[in-house]
């Protein structure tokens, strides 16, 4: 039988606010345990929450970024359950009236096509603390620094059909939230965490199969592997005559498998009700419009513009728009050299390669966009040839000069295009290579094509790489053919 998978994701994004969603404690990562848990975060008797404006603004920006409806009123509810990392015994969340209504995210697939994934809604909530299971004489330690960090939970429709699509969706979200600057998107520090809902059904069937939820998958790679494993598991299970049970599972990256969380399925009953300590959040139209006007160009629009207006390939457009720093760098290079294709080649070629070798992020590149742009200008106006350009690039990388021009000057890399000078060098090479010239003369046309490379190399060497290779080629051919 042919099977198809149906996948939906709940992605929790930590918002990049300075302070917590309901208190003035810092959200900085990595502090000593409980040093950033204030009275409100600890849920001390008598404390009350006050909503952070930046968290609201960021949620709305996300909503605008996915063309979602932004309801005028949203309401915080309490989700009641006991857990040691949940100080108040309830999580303040938005169950019935989320801040962001339905929207959609465009994802780029490997074959160069795009697909729209519908977002059901996105809501604000507070993060919980962390349980540390190191050895405290058989006890668990609780660190509440993370408690109260603002989260935007983005709930998709079950619109994805494969692990690859799911990953493309998370990558698209990642690039939207980092473009907007509303999250640092640092998955290793838990800034984006996913719950994945997976079910399978025979191809063509309308009704959905029973789904399993895989909790807390925290990297692109694990999302892909966890889903692939889970699809496989469900298909095998059904084909063996079994039934998928609705349950929560955990992905174990070491074993590369999903496991059922102990079926303490006492059917959670969260007793949601409107939080009486918080009032309805009402967004006036002017506020939303102000946020809309300040939105940056988002990845999907950028990709389309790179492809349609700059004439880049779909692949280049997609890579160069994938992160905001990358796109900004590329655009700055392009603006300074006025050649989008050359800029794209350099950013993805020489620069990306070197960044990769030294494991640097584009924002930490030692070569600035203006420097690279300046270098490309000298390539396109033929001041230097390609080989010299690479030398200049490495010199810029190593900080040997402030601009390409300075380095070209200092190293004498200016391309030699003076025919007389080139002819003189050719004559010298021919004079120094009687054996090779004799062989050339005797060879047929096909072989000559290959043999000329030797002479070109010698001439380039003589010019210390500055001779214009096309000119060298043409002149050499002329001279040798006369020999």
């Amino acid at each position: 039988m042919q099977w198809e998978a149906v996948i939906g994701l709940e992605v929790h994004v930590q918002l990049a606010t300075q302070s917590k969603i309901f208190s003035g404690a810092s959200t900085a990562f990595g502090a000593e345990p409980n040093t950033q848990a204030c009275a409100v975060d600890l849920g001390l008797p008598g404390v009350l929450p006050v909503l952070n404006e930046a968290a609201v603004a960021m949620a709305v920006q996300f909503g605008l970024g996915i063309n979602a409806e932004i309801p005028e009123t949203s309401i915080f509810d309490r989700k009641n359950y006991f857990y040691p990392d949940l100080p108040k015994g309830y999580q303040t969340s938005q169950m019935y009236h989320p801040i962001v209504g339905p929207g959609e995210v465009e994802i780029a697939l490997d074959d160069g096509t795009t697909k729209r994934v519908r977002v059901h809604h996105a809501h604000l909530e507070e993060d919980a603390g962390k349980s540390l299971h190191e050895d405290f004489h058989g006890m668990t330690g609780i660190d509440l620094n993370r408690a109260g960090t603002p989260l935007l939970e983005i709930v998709s429709e079950p619109d994805m059909g494969s692990a690859k699509e799911a990953v493309a969706y998370i990558k698209a979200l990642h690039s939207i939230v980092t473009y907007l600057g509303i999250s640092d998107g640092n998955m290793a520090e838990g800034s984006m965490r996913c719950d994945v809902n997976v079910s399978v059904r025979p191809k063509g069937q309308e009704t959905l199969g029973t789904r399993a939820e895989i909790k807390n998958v925290n990297s692109f790679r694990f999302v892909e592997k966890a889903i692939a494993y889970e699809i496989e598991r469900q298909i095998e299970l059904i084909e063996d005559g079994g039934k998928v049970v609705q349950e929560t599972r955990l992905y174990d990256p070491e074993a590369d498998e999903t496991r059922s969380m102990r079926t303490k399925e006492e059917a959670n009953d969260y007793r949601y009700f409107p939080c009486p300590d918080l009032l309805p959040v009402v967004l006036d139209q002017a506020y939303v419009e102000h946020l809309r006007e300040s939105l940056p160009e988002l990845p999907a629009e950028k990709r389309a513009r790179f492809e349609n207006e700059l004439g880049l390939s779909a692949y280049d457009a997609s890579i160069l728009s994938s992160t905001r720093p990358m796109a900004e760098y590329f655009e700055a290079v392009k603006d300074s050299c006025n050649d989008a294709k050359l800029a794209a080649n350099w950013v993805q070629g020489e620069l990306a390669g070197q960044l990769n070798r030294e494991n640097l992020d584009i924002v930490d590149s030692p070569v600035s966009a203006a420097q690279l742009g300046g270098l490309i200008c000298r390539v396109s106006d033929e001041t230097i040839n390609g080989k010299a350009a690479k030398q200049v690039f490495m010199a810029l990388w190593n900080g040997e000069g402030a601009t390409a021009d300075e380095i070209i000057e200092a190293k004498g890399l200016k391309q030699v295009t003076d025919t007389g000078a080139i002819e003189a060098m050719i004559d010298q090479v021919i004079a120094d290579s009687p054996v090779q010239v004799a062989q050339y003369v005797e060879a047929d046309e096909a072989k000559r094509g290959k043999m000329i490379g030797y002479f070109v190399g010698q001439v380039m060497k003589a010019s210390r790489g500055t001779a214009n290779p096309q000119q060298v080629n043409a002149l050499l051919k002329q001279k040798l053919d006369q020999a």
Binding site: S26, A55, L132, H133, M139, L278
Partner: protein, 95 residues
């Protein structure tokens, strides 16, 4: 709505309140009478009446995103029953 001992036990579990059998029995009786009183609400026609969560029709004020709280761990943990290395301790949580 009638209340069974099972309902009381379920609520007690959700609320993490330990109850012995005698207490459970007594609470069935108390709670039944309270709910019986609450059931008077059922007779009211509330069609089209919006629930009222807050007595004033006010809206949420927003706070500027500023860090205003300093570390007060030592002070806050003075009233904690069990801490070590700055962490609150609980019996082992099995995930």
């Amino acid at each position: 709505m009638a209340l069974e001992q099972e309902d009381v036990r379920r609520a007690a579990h959700l609320a993490r309140l330990g109850l012995n059998d005698d207490e459970a029995e007594r609470y069935v009786d108390d709670l039944s009478r309270i709910l019986e009183m609450a059931d008077r609400l059922q007779a009211v026609d509330t069609q089209g009446v919006a629930p009222l969560a807050h007595p004033l029709d006010a809206t949420q004020r927003l706070r500027a995103d500023e860090v205003t709280e300093a570390n007060q761990r030592e002070r806050f943990q003075r009233c904690a029953p069990a801490v070590e290395n700055g962490l609150y301790l609980v019996p082992r949580v099995v995930e």
